[in-house]
Subunit: 127 residues, 2 copies
DNA sequence: GCTTGACTTGGAGTCAACTCCATGTTGTAC
DNA sequence: GTACAACATGGAGTTGACTCCAAGTCAAGC
């Protein structure tokens, strides 16, 4: 697969894809003789990994650190495990905060729907 | 309540608190004669709102827009409702992406725990 | 073999959201 | 009444994550 194919598949730009490679969030991608990137299944797996984690807010730096450890081989298994646990815990916290915000918005929305439909404001202040 | 109290309460810096006010993510805060900010219950409600939404990733700009509409009065009820619904939908999407990432990490973590405990790598590639 | 669109690199630019700084003021404790 | 921490302002600086650009190379169609 080419850069364009991968970008379309994951909904990112070519610049972003190359940026991920440049900073190590995905390993160096194999090239054709002419120097054109050629993504095989494994490379695409790495892109999927990076895109999935980035969408959840994991930093490019943390993703790159995982890739770096991965490439160092089996002696970094424990380090990788710790890294993953740390990131997972961060995401769990983020999930709680996100859920709280959705609840806040849902509550406000229900009040506003009332207000818009009935013309009556059934609450005070800004809550 | 003073700047310091509010910061401690919400775990943000004084600079951030003043920044939120400056860009309108919270309304202008009342001052003492000497010009010192004094947060009453309502002001604190606005800070809570801003902090909660920011933690979930809602942009400062969107929060400020809500505040702006709020201060324009009842004629903006519908606009505010639409704004809230848009933001809520964005957060729901974000929640899905976050959940997917947590699942990915949980799966990897379970594999790594196996590998670290047994010394056996029970999977191929980078998955 | 020429056009054309997609690709290459290195480096600079942009944007949101802080974060820091200089310089001065306020107000509580002694 | 003086020391000192916390406050004020305006503006500059930083950070992370892209995003754009210039100048050139590659390759599929005609």
């Amino acid at each position: 697969m080419t850069v364009k194919d991968v970008c379309e598949e994951f909904g990112i730009t070519a610049d972003t894809l190359r940026y991920y490679e440049r900073v190590g969030a995905i390993p160096k991608v194999a090239r054709t003789k002419g120097g054109i990137r050629e993504y095989d299944a494994e490379a695409i797996g790495w892109v999927r990994n990076a895109v999935c984690l980035r969408k959840a807010g994991v930093s490019v730096e943390a993703i790159a650190e995982y890739v770096r450890l991965f490439e160092m081989g089996d002696e970094t298994l424990k380090d990788r495990l710790e890294l993953l646990i740390g990131e997972r815990n961060g995401l769990k916290t983020q999930l709680d905060e996100l859920t709280a915000a959705v609840e806040l918005l849902d509550w406000k929305i229900s009040r506003y729907q009332e207000a818009v439909e009935t013309g009556v404001l059934s609450w005070e202040k800004n809550e």
